[in-house]
Symmetry: C2
Subunit: 708 residues, 2 copies
């Protein structure tokens, strides 16, 4: 046996048995370098519930991996780590720590003494808090924090922290760039891949406590008995990690699944069908979370098909779920086929009037901006405008409009920007989007943040190593919407790659500017929705032939020989009026405003002088060019970090940056070529002409672009 | 550093850092148990070509893994392993071994002495032979063979050993049950996943030397410049492993890609387009293998659309490829929409007359049987009937008709049965299908075997652990069509799971009977094509409503109140006449024939007495029931092997067997219920009635069945 052990050791050291392929995400638990000491000697856990067992297992796995010695659940020793709740652990009960601030899901981590022994306790009021505490404690080690005198109390500021999977039953993922769905629907409920547990571990490690399994453009088959059984199997796997499952509900399911003639929310048969369906689901999944609904939006069925309101539709489902404790997340991303009005205004116009009409187990889910997850958008005017309704934030983690999974864009910085925006609700400064979402502004206890997942079958889960950071940052900001995205990037980089300061500092800087760079080479100065049709891959500012005016990029940039930009002032669509006066003031005056929003709100002459002193035309070209050259800078920076990164992941990131550099240049050249054909102006001195003709860029086709 | 090493060792032993997930296939290279000695001390390789570097790396990886010590490429020591060709290795040249029998791709492995040192040499005439020899040598260790006095010479008996991927450009895989395609077309040619190299290693380890990347139901976009560049990137990755890439060519590509008005093979413009396309491909891929073509079959375009023959079509493509050394694999799986004749006869009828008309770089690719990869088929009558044409065997590795990836069916035993079948070509006994395919019967040097791949993005590659054995066995039998499928199963089980005799013996027995078991519960006694429509999942013997008669199961079983079976004798379709008289004789007489083919060739009364003494009706029920209960036996056997298998793979296989047991019972019950509704006969004593009604079985629908 010993010979064998030695053999295995030699082997393990000899070979990259487990090359870094990104599967372990930020939970790699590799041994810490000499010089950083982990005092922990043993784990004391008396808990027997699934979450407490999961917590003990994770701590054992993490401490053993990080310390490089087997640290098991066992007896009390000096520097033992004691985990549990007062009810599950005699030791915790004895120490009787103050858990009032921990609440339902929070925890405390404290170094203290038990019968004169130094110990570390991870305690909570409920089991799930213990698991969250364990992940926090492991993060302290993964990021090399001192462990000698800990006194941490933490609890989530938002109740529902939910991933939205836009996954279809045929395995494809709408706007997915990381391969197909990880849900093996065909083999469920029998086959439960280990990947499902790793998915739950990763989510729990950042506090995500819910997942919507299927696309908001949904299929009634998801509500069939066979698929409820499949969903129940996933729910069983996720339950120990505090993750509830939700389903996107197709509003017309009573017709397609139920065989009824109508889906009218006020029809008694329809209401009865939904009640029965809810009962059926809860019989299989007692802690089922509820429904997410996309209704009367982009062709989806909804209550308006029957001349009923969004509130009528949402409340019918809420009534069916209410007895079981379920909730409805009703999306506000609507823009009517009939209305020719600025899409920016339509959600607000439709929903504002319904404030106060929604049942108390309904949240209205609002995208961060009023158009559609553009590289930059001003915050959505609904935030702060519906005090009687809990508004749930919807962020997009998958990069539909930011270069798919090959462009590096750290979205934590984007999310923070959106959350920090001041709505001036009630005319008061400081009522940020974050505080609205937390319920602090209008005293809501039912609160939530959703993120459209970037997860697929790719081995690295997210399609690229750096896209993992967006999943991670979403979870961290859902837990605490006022957290710093830079601090989050720092944690992520340390856990995912290396704690070497020579690596961490430049990588975090690169991450923090990366999304700005994408906005520069795709949609500078407040331009938006310029991506090519359907797949949204690459530039398509010239597209003007789509059925609906507001599907065309030309609708959004409105460029002509004189100028460019969407006038959303009084003189134009007046979308600005949907913001509180103090918020509106920020964007009212081109001379003083943040020019990164200039063309979002104003139509401006080409020869208008921007703050840099350049003409607008020159500034557009300069900004596009800067975006492209900043990618070259990122690429060079990454090349210099080779000593700190394992070969496979270094290569993978380097290849993506090579692609991004080429495509940023493409964006810059195609956009400059197109806008120059309209402005008829010369390029500023020192700025090179596009490599190819406008006709060339217009001719490009991508028949099998992913996610479309 | 030492502290760190010890730490890592402790860690590696403490944790299942790398749980067995099947990704390593039969190339796990885990340390051998004490008691088995590996003499090798170092590797001597002077080769600098990609295949020789790959060979040295594989040997280093394998020997280090298996011995548990680092064994590197270095200097000559006692018991060194010397690899190379006489031209690449001075040592090999000095020892000057007899390589005449090794041929172009073969190798020798020999223990000998060099300057009085004991050494092992792995030598070949060409680089690729050295790589094949390295894999053979590693297999000896993986299967615990003695290494002390080796004197092995081996060479492939077939020239083209090719996988056919039925992979579509949208990522789906036709008849694929292991997830989506492993070709990340979107990110090619830039991103080259490590998985591509592991794919090449696995194929080379069993001698596969070609791969057709795209579906035979093909898309002309595969021939576009962008996709040729993507294909070239894969070719570059596979080249060091001796694997050529091929493409399925859409016959109408000159219209779709070339913008021509016709694809008539005799049209000069069409011929010129294909010549130019071939030149374009070879400019990017100098060793491109050639085209696989499905023409005038199941709606695919072909030469008959222009009143030309299959030979006209194949020869046009052959002419374009010829200057570059490429070949055409022209599929014989054709059955005309017009002809109402027995499908069994149509390929033979269409192709027999063309024998001698094909260019010398064309092979005709023939499925093992005349219908379509059924659980059992008599060999295809074309084998032995076209002496002037090289016939390439097409096996299906993916289990379209044998339970997808959840049913355990070892196809090595199926392939061996087909290859061992005696065609009695020229009236002589011993001219087996294997010998026809090897070219031995008609002296062809251009020979080939194709297998429709069962590979996808599932972590274990093939959708289940045991399906890996079918990929493995295909390769081994393509290398040597006269090999023993039992010996192959034995090697595979040892390399994939364990060398413990207590594990190997029962598992190999289980594998060898597993396909017979599937035939019993799906299509006993020569019944065929009874699977449900489209997806081919589960029983559909009642289906009678499809557009074409020969798409309906009822067309194949022809059951009525009096009897069942397809009369292919003179009195019926007379398909039997397509076989040589001596072969036909085997099946001519129900009384004496192998009854596993009875209903394939004969329509037999229900009360006909079979060899067992039972009536045919009783035998049908008994065989269906036996198939179902044999799965229970398999399941119990696997359960008893738990001590020998790692937890994850044991669980995965156990879950699949649970599914198979349920579905075998479903097959048995649904089939018995249906046939009883026709025979109107009672079940034999002691055989239970179906669990549910026939209506229930007929009502089952599977909207998202994979591979459809």
């Amino acid at each position: 046996m010993l010979r064998w052990i030695v053999a295995v050791c030699a082997l393990m050291l000899a070979l990259p048995v487990q090359a870094e392929d990104g599967y372990d995400l930020w939970q790699r638990y590799r041994p810490v370098e000499a010089g950083y000491a982990i005092p922990a000697t043993s784990i004391v856990s008396e808990g027997t519930t699934p979450p407490l067992i999961a917590a003990a297992q994770e701590l054992e796995r993490g401490l053993s991996g990080l310390s490089g010695k087997v640290i098991e659940v066992g007896t009390l020793r000096d520097n033992a780590v004691i985990i549990g709740t007062p009810s599950s652990s005699a030791a915790i009960a004895l120490l009787n720590p103050d858990l009032t601030k921990a609440g339902e899901e929070g925890f405390i981590i404290r170094t203290t003494r038990l019968n004169d022994r130094p110990v570390t306790i991870i305690a909570a009021n409920r089991d799930i808090g213990v698991l969250y505490g364990v992940f926090e404690y492991l993060k302290l080690i993964q990021t090399r924090q001192p462990l000698t005198s800990l006194n941490i109390t933490d609890a989530p500021k938002v109740k529902l922290r939910v991933l939205n999977h836009w996954d279809n039953l045929d395995g494809s993922v709408e706007r997915g760039y990381a391969g197909t769905t990880i849900w093996d629907w065909w083999k469920l409920p029998d086959v439960r891949h280990p990947r499902y547990t790793d998915y739950a571990r990763a989510n729990a490690s950042v506090g995500i406590n819910g997942t919507v399994l299927n696309n908001v453009n949904s299929n009634a088959v998801s509500l069939s008995p066979a698929y409820i059984a499949k969903t129940a199997a996933l729910a069983d796997t996720f339950r120990p990690y505090g993750i509830k499952v939700y389903l996107s509900a197709r509003f017309s399911a009573p017709i397609e699944e139920g065989g009824l003639k109508t889906a009218d929310p006020l029809d008694p048969q329809v209401r009865a069908w939904w009640k029965a369906k809810a009962d059926e689901i809860y019989a299989a999944i007692p802690d089922f979370g509820g429904f997410l609904v996309k209704a009367n939006s982009e062709g989806q069925p909804g209550p308006q098909d029957y001349k009923r309101s969004h509130a009528d539709g949402a409340n019918m489902l809420a009534e069916a779920l209410k007895p079981h404790g379920g909730i409805v997340m009703w999306r506000a991303f609507v823009y009517s086929h009939e209305k020719p009005d600025d899409r920016h205004k339509q959600a607000y116009d439709e929903f504002k009037a319904l404030d106060g009409q929604f049942a108390d187990n309904v949240l209205v889910q609002v995208k961060n901006g009023a158009i559609d997850f553009q590289p930059r958008e001003p915050f959505h005017p609904m935030f702060g405008a519906m005090p009687k309704t809990p508004l749930m934030m919807e962020f997009q983690i998958t990069k539909e409009y930011l270069g798919f999974s090959t462009h590096l864009a750290y979205l934590g910085q984007y999310y923070e920007e959106a959350l920090k925006a001041d709505t001036f609700a009630g005319g008061k400064a400081g009522n940020t989007v974050a505080k609205v979402v937390e319920g602090a502004v209008d005293n809501h206890t039912l609160t939530g943040i959703a993120g459209v997942a970037n997860i697929g079958m790719d081995r690295n889960w997210s399609g690229s190593d750096f896209d993992q950071a967006n999943w991670y940052a979403f979870g961290r900001l859902a837990w605490n919407p006022q957290a710093s995205s830079r601090a989050i990037a720092d944690d992520w980089a340390r856990m995912t790659f290396s704690n070497d300061p020579a690596f961490v500092a430049p990588v975090v800087d690169m991450m923090m500017t990366s999304r700005e760079t994408v906005a520069d080479y795709m949609t500078p100065l407040g331009l938006h929705h310029l991506m090519d049709t359907g797949h949204h891959y690459g530039p398509g500012p010239w597209v003007d032939n789509l059925e609906r005016a507001d599907w065309n990029p030309v609708y959004y940039h409105k460029a002509d020989i004189n100028g460019i930009g969407f006038d959303r002032m009084k003189t134009g669509s007046n979308a600005i009026a949907q913001y509180t006066p103090k918020a509106a003031k920020l964007w009212a005056e081109p001379k003083t405003m943040d020019e990164r929003y200039l063309l979002w709100f104003h139509h401006v002459p080409w020869d208008y002088k921007v703050k840099s002193g350049r003409t607008l035309w020159d500034e557009v070209v300069v900004t596009y060019s800067k975006g492209a050259s900043d990618v070259t800078t990122m690429r060079n920076r990454w090349a210099s970090l080779k000593p700190y990164v394992d070969a496979d992941r270094f290569e993978a990131v380097a290849t993506n940056l090579m692609i991004q550099e080429r495509e940023a240049r493409w964006w810059r050249d195609a956009s400059v070529a197109y806008f120059q054909s309209i402005s008829k102006r010369p390029l500023p001195a020192g700025y090179s002409a596009p490599e190819k003709t406008l006709e060339y860029y217009r001719s490009l086709k991508f028949p099998y672009a992913p996610g479309n």
